[in-house]
């Protein structure tokens, strides 16, 4: 079946982590449906998960941005986080590699386990965590260095290569995996910020996988790209899903449908529904999910 047919519209939500968005007021269509805190419909849990997240709460100062969310993320699966703007997708995603640490007012509560290790344990080494859990951002953010130095950045700081030739291999391998090798091999030493937006984003993906992470977090990786570049990145995500666990935030439901195997729907900080992607988009169990995917609000 073609899932795209069931999707009526896709909400456009330009958003920035640093500028707090006003919470959308629950609109008329959703008023009858209430979320019960901590109750997630569908199948949030899995056997032997990569991430085991229980009763997660995130506060910005006094404001509770994530409300009692419990979720398992399986090994080598692609899970998509969808939901209206400001519902906490980015916030939740950034808990998984502790990028929230750099926001002073942000506090995280609950149990967050990566392979049975507590991510937020006071002795946990953030450097090691982030080497295992890579991240790709909404806006391509290559360093103003050469393409080669961008990809080699992570391996260098983690001491992954003993010799220049090893580093060369890592760079080539990562660029190949990111589908950028053919375009970049002749200009490895020219500045990365001179590439097109789509190439830059694939470079950022190459940069993230150069440190051989186990998980790649992607926060709306295509929202700054044109449709052709988007298609390339989506293709890339599908290829990467064979060897990595990928968690992707997206505001495009078509994209979620195309690349993910499971989908989690967030609403005002609640995790409303989690299920196989095909299930969520064809027969959502929760009323709010249905309103969202049929485009009644976003």
């Amino acid at each position: 079946m073609n899932m795209n047919d069931t999707l009526i519209s896709e909400p456009l939500e330009p958003q920035e982590m640093s500028t707090p968005v006003n919470r959308p007021v629950e609109d008329a269509g959703a008023q009858s449906a209430k979320v019960e805190e901590g109750k997630t419909v569908g199948k949030p849990f899995a056997d032997d998960p990569k991430f085991k997240l229980r009763n997660v709460e995130v506060f910005y100062g006094q404001e509770r941005a994530i409300k009692n969310v419990s979720l398992d993320i399986g090994r080598n699966e692609v899970i998509a986080f969808i939901g209206p703007s400001g519902c906490g997708k980015s916030t939740f995603l950034r808990c998984l590699n502790r990028m929230n640490d750099s926001i002073d007012i942000c506090r995280v509560k609950g149990q967050l386990m990566l392979d049975d290790e507590d991510i937020y344990h006071s002795k946990k080494d953030v450097v090691e965590l982030r080497a295992r859990v890579g991240m790709v951002f909404q806006k391509p953010n290559p360093f103003p260095k050469s393409i080669y130095d961008n990809v080699a950045y992570g391996p260098r700081i983690h001491g992954l290569a003993n010799r220049k030739s090893e580093l060369d291999d890592i760079v080539e391998d990562s660029l190949r995996k990111a589908g950028l090798w053919n375009e970049a091999k002749d200009r490895l030493h020219s500045i990365a910020t001179g590439m097109s937006g789509g190439q830059q984003q694939r470079l950022c993906i190459a940069r993230a996988i150069a440190v051989s992470p186990e998980v790649v977090l992607m926060d709306e990786p295509c929202s700054a790209l044109d449709p052709i570049a988007t298609a390339k990145v989506e293709e890339l995500i599908s290829e990467l899903s064979e060897s990595y666990t990928i968690i992707i935030v997206t505001h495009s439901m078509q994209q979620a449908a195309r690349v993910s195997s499971r989908t989690a729907y967030f609403h005002l900080g609640h995790l409303v529904e989690v299920n196989e992607t095909s299930k969520v988009f064809t027969s959502p169990e929760h009323e709010l999910t249905e309103s969202y995917i049929t485009g009644r609000f976003g």
Partner: protein, 462 residues
């Protein structure tokens, strides 16, 4: 009336013209059915009337005030008998001051020529009347022109356009004043420099290693020629500036890094203004701090180490100057570090680098051009600094690289050359202009390079 009082009176007239113009345009608009039937808003008609009233009157006032003395002098001298009419401008000014003295009663009129006494009377007369004439002329022009401006207000008149044109010329002339002043200074410096090189050869100046610019009073005096080798001065300047930069660059840069990357908002809001306060301390205060506290301390300290330090040393001046220019480095570096997008920090942190690795490998390289710009600006400030050096480094033109010795700099020598009685065409005085020109070229080059670098850096992220 005094020109100052007259000026305020004109301001009052301008205001009156504004108010009257405003009401006239309103009144004209009423029968037409409102302000929107006028070509311009009432405010523009009012400003136009005010400008009509003010500009001609103020121009006349300024011209009169600046040329009054010359015209009076011309009139007074014109009445003198032909045989005592002065031949040269020098004689004329002598004669004028004589006449002045007679007029003020300092010179008794009995002891001088009768025609001079007459001239003195005329002078007194003209002076008194000139004021009256000026007041009358200026006020009548203001009133007349203001009236014309007011009377000519018509619904069809495009006052807005006229006001815009006048304002454009006004702003242009303000800018022109600043530019012309700079150009004037540059030209006078360069003309005097050319004269200097007419007396002292290029090689003596640029490659001479001895500086002792005395000029002989008697031809047979020892060292009568003077020596104008600029090398000891430029090495002195270089030495002190280098010491200053050695202090200011690391301290300024690291405090900028601390402020922008590590300090929380609260600390930052307190520390940053405090740091910038350093630039606001008068240099003379730094000067006596250097001379009375730092220099003796260095001398004593060197002595306990068994070294010989003079009581005034390049080190003392350089250290204190370094403290003074810290804010130049820190403030600009802080700005450019802050301008590096947060997304680059996030990207680096997300790859598992620590805060200091992120700083060292991503932010610093990205901000480097801007930081270089800041350092160059600080350097040109250090080169031009005078007060601290006069007070703490001494006046002796030693050619040395030893920071414990006393040295002197280009700026200090310019000051000493021009202090005291001057002969305007001696090489000693003109040497100041030559040094000034050199200094001007060096700092100009530094500034141009710095601005180029900073601009290039800005483009990178805009």
């Amino acid at each position: 009336m005094q020109p100052a009082n007259l000026f305020f009176l004109i301001l009052a007239l301008i205001f009156t013209a504004y108010v009257l113009g405003y009401f006239r345009s309103k009144a004209l608009a009423r029968p037409l059915g409102g302000v929107r039937h006028l070509k311009s808003l009432p405010g523009y008609y009012a400003v136009r009337a005010a400008l009509w009233c003010g500009i001609p009157a103020l121009i006349i006032l300024v011209l009169w005030a600046s040329f009054e003395n010359q015209i009076i002098q011309m009139l007074v001298l014109g009445t003198l008998a032909p045989e005592i009419v002065p031949a040269s401008p020098g004689e004329a000014s002598l004669l004028m001051s004589q006449i002045n003295n007679i007029a003020s009663g300092a010179l008794s009129s009995g002891s001088v020529d009768a025609s001079l006494v007459n001239a003195a009377e005329l002078l007194t007369n003209l002076r008194q009347n000139s004021n009256t004439y000026m007041t009358m002329l200026v006020l009548s022009i203001a009133v007349l022109a203001g009236f014309v401006g007011w009377y000519r207000i018509q619904p069809k008149l495009n006052a807005r356009e006229q006001v815009e044109i006048i304002l454009r010329w006004f702003f242009f002339s303000c800018a022109a004043v600043a530019i012309m002043t700079t150009v004037g200074i540059v030209f006078s410096v360069f003309f005097e420099t050319v004269r200097f090189f007419g007396m002292v050869s290029f090689t003596d100046f640029f490659f001479g290693t001895s500086w002792s610019p005395q000029v002989a009073l008697r031809a047979d005096q020892v060292g009568s020629g003077g020596a104008f080798g600029m090398i000891p001065l430029f090495t002195g300047t270089l030495l002190i500036s280098a010491i200053a930069l050695l202090v200011a660059v690391p301290v300024g840069l690291f405090s900028a890094i601390y402020l922008s990357e590590y300090a929380n908002k609260h600390v930052r809001s307190v520390v940053k203004p405090l740091l910038e306060l350093l630039a606001g301390v008068p240099t003379v205060v730094y000067g006596f701090f250097a001379a009375l506290t730092v220099a003796p301390f260095i001398a004593n300290f060197a002595q306990t180490l068994g070294m010989n330090a003079s009581s005034q040393s390049a080190l003392a001046a350089g250290l204190v100057m370094g403290i003074m220019i810290i804010p130049f480095v820190s403030s600009l570096s802080d700005d450019v570090i802050n301008a590096v997008p947060q997304s680059l920090r996030d990207g680096s942190l997300a790859l598992g680098s620590t805060q200091s690795e992120t700083m060292k490998k991503v932010i610093f390289p990205a901000a480097l051009p801007g930081i270089m710009g800041g350092i160059l600006l600080a350097a040109s400030r250090a080169i031009g600094e005078t007060m601290i050096v006069v007070m703490a480094a001494g006046l002796a033109a030693n050619l040395t690289a030893n920071p414990l010795q006393s040295v002197t700099t280009v700026t200090v020598q310019i000051v000493t050359l021009l202090i005291g009685d001057q002969e305007f065409d001696s090489p000693k005085t003109l040497a100041a202009f030559a040094l000034g020109a050199m200094l001007f070229i060096v700092t100009l080059l530094l500034n141009v390079i710095a601005l180029k670098i900073v601009r290039k850096y800005r483009e990178q992220y805009d």
